[in-house]
Symmetry: C2
Subunit: 318 residues, 2 copies
Amino acid sequence: MSFPVASAHRSGEETLIARYFKPLATDPSAFDLADDAAILRAVGEDAVAATDVVVTTDAVVEGVHFLAHDPPDTIARKALRVNLSDLAAKGAAPAGFVLTLALRDAGEVWLEPFALALGEDAKAFGCPPAGKMVRRSGAKPGDRLVVTGTIGDAALGLDILKGGPLATALVDDATGKEMLIARYRVPQPRNALATAVCDHASAAMDVSDGLAGDLAKLCAASGVSAAIDLSSIPVSTTGRKLLASGAVSIEAIISGGDDYEILCAISDDCYERFAHEAMQAGIAVATIGTVIAGTASPRFIDVQGRELSLQRRSYSHF
Amino acid sequence: MSFPVASAHRSGEETLIARYFKPLATDPSAFDLADDAAILRAVGEDAVAATDVVVTTDAVVEGVHFLAHDPPDTIARKALRVNLSDLAAKGAAPAGFVLTLALRDAGEVWLEPFALALGEDAKAFGCPPAGKMVRRSGAKPGDRLVVTGTIGDAALGLDILKGGPLATALVDDATGKEMLIARYRVPQPRNALATAVCDHASAAMDVSDGLAGDLAKLCAASGVSAAIDLSSIPVSTTGRKLLASGAVSIEAIISGGDDYEILCAISDDCYERFAHEAMQAGIAVATIGTVIAGTASPRFIDVQGRELSLQRRSYSHF
């Protein structure tokens, strides 16, 4: 018998965890990183809560945990079961799972049996795909549409990193270039606004795949449409410079990915308190349009009242 | 500007989710799969719990979310922040995170800044690595060491799949071969034993990287050693046949990976009830040895009383 990688006593995985990641576990509740599962406790929850939430995340990787030509249905079952096994060893009952798939390429012939087997095993082990949040789906006609920060910078930064035409357009603006690249590489999540979103927004999501596409998703989930005033979309100084010179189109700004700003719908009644709390949190928010009735795709209107015709609405990872 | 992949209106990712994975979300609490985060509720918890646990899992993939030559520190920050952004949009405060790393290869030059930046951001956003379970660390001298099911089958199955010598040894035993392959491809997690483990075990883990190596981890976490009776380790009929013919060594059986059985330490006082509950759950359990004081590596003793000298103790993923 042979094993792909063999080592004596302490494996490379353990050494790696001990050297690099154990030092991060400074939280009093993080006893060590010597276990396969973690306890998550909801913020504000009592220290002696009757029920802990146990979380486990075992990746199943081709060439390591399965072979390239293993049947897709057994890969699905193994992915779920190795994690169920961790829960069982911790004496925890499964409450649900989330799935992350990274595929080199995969068509129907692979995905269909994969998904079918995953569903069968999820049912067999009483472990449903976790109930999805509905907070995206409460937008009502008349609500304001609000975004945080500025839109489009990260996509411009990616263009520069890939040696696209913007590098030339910004040849004399090192600061602007660096800002755009930093926006791509190091997003600024708006966690300081979480409570205000929770308390006041009727629907919310983060803008990660482009404002236009993500707005369409939010509207679809709520069964509404939207009218957006293009001139109200917050764009950084560097972004405005590139728009003014024609180096970049507004379509590129609103369809580029990686913004990680919050898009939310807020009723007029709630808006004043929301804006106040955002100001206190030091996060800029801008009203960019209005939720309207109907199921049409959201419309983007320029200062002349013309509707923008969008070739693409979002950045796709597949 | 150019984008790696662009599509109109509905992205490939959305289509894939809608076609293959939305049909799995049949649980009443799984409203749909149209959102970026999920609510997990602890089993048995009140439906009107004051605090929901929101779970999000956004993978950050080279060539999709970052470029191959991006600095490791910004990749770490982005990996954490895109998930924090999802939480912020849901109005949820971060309680902790778990990390799954799949590396083609990575040395100190890459890992050190990656881990450092991850730790800095975790602190900055109040999002500690999740507190690790301590249930591995309560084994006491005198406790029995118990495993479920049979050990070694999956590693034998992997050898067959890779065209190793066992395929020849089992040329006339199609049923045995199929059983071993199935054990590698489709583990049988012991979730029916979770309550018994929770109620009676002083330490427990699942055996995923080989019994010998995983036992060493359990002992190290508890600050104890162990003496194992090799003849008590449960081996399948096919495994015993291969051992008897000399096609396989006991070292291969106890150092092979992918068993996904439970290994636990149980005091004599608790054992009878544990064994009874395991029987009711229809899961075979076997006592394979005893926890002893000290910090020496666990010892494996054969029927002649000789100690096995192990060249390797575990299967390593790195």
